[in-house]
Amino acid sequence: MLTIAGHTFRSRLLTGSGKFASGEAMESALAASGSELVTLALKRLMPDSAHDDILSPIVNLGLKLLPNTSGARNAEEAVFAARLAKEALRTSWLKLEIHPDPNYLLPDPVETLIAAEKLVKEGFTVLPYCGADPVLCQRLTDVGCAAVMPLGAPIGSNMGLKTRDFLRIIIEQARVPVIVDAGIGAPSHAAEAMEMGADAVLVNTAIATARDPAEMARAFREAVICGRRAFNAGPGTVSVGPASATSPMTSFLDAL
């Protein structure tokens, strides 16, 4: 069981609601994923513009909402976005994300830490998207974040765990759940993160842009369970050098 800020989840797969071709595709994929926590974004309401009803399918599935602050370029904007999200969705849970760089969407560590501290003091349950920086993850934990969400690779890149060596350190030092976010492009990447001891992963693009999103969601669901099972089982040590026999090295063939 995954526990974040006293709330228990059976699934260790968090999902995003972005980039799906249709509301139906999103709903079937979210259902197949087994995910219980789903991210959403905020947008300015334009008069008379038709907005897809993103919320109903998610609420119908009984999933917990995790609004994000995507679009915020600094701490001040993120705090404002957080307050709007809380008002719109009546939840104090928040995926804090501040990425001023439009090319790589990499999170700004300084603004994220400033905003996290302020939002925790306001009573938000803050889950910050951050670089795979062990020191920053400690600082975010110190100011009261409920989890940390270090990136595996840039958002939407599907590149996998490019930061794996630093994720290992973050997991080793963690005092709050570690949710590997961004860059997970295949179930094998998710399984790798879970085998390393990550508490959860967040996947969006890899599911939403698959040819069959619901089937891919199912694959991620199983990979996350599989990876966690392997972590719990305690993987054997990796050794470089001479082989280590798994069968008895008898010399019975000599007798023939």
């Binding site: 609601s17 980039k19 959403l40 974004a41 947008k43 300015r44 907005h51 009803d53 919320l55 307050r83």
Partner: protein
Amino acid sequence: MQISVNNQSIQIDEEATVAALVKAQKSQTRAIAVAVNQQIVHRENWSEHRLHGGDVVDIVTVVAGG
């Protein structure tokens, strides 16, 4: 009087309330948040909160996102 709504200048009636402004957006969703001059106006206060000329209003809703 003139106010700004989501960075666009619009004319509204004197004494108009936040509730009237939200209704005029003709939105289907209930997941809406309103801020006037960067201060959140809670849903339960929309019908009492009167707008003033020059107010800067943000109205946001929820969309898909990762």
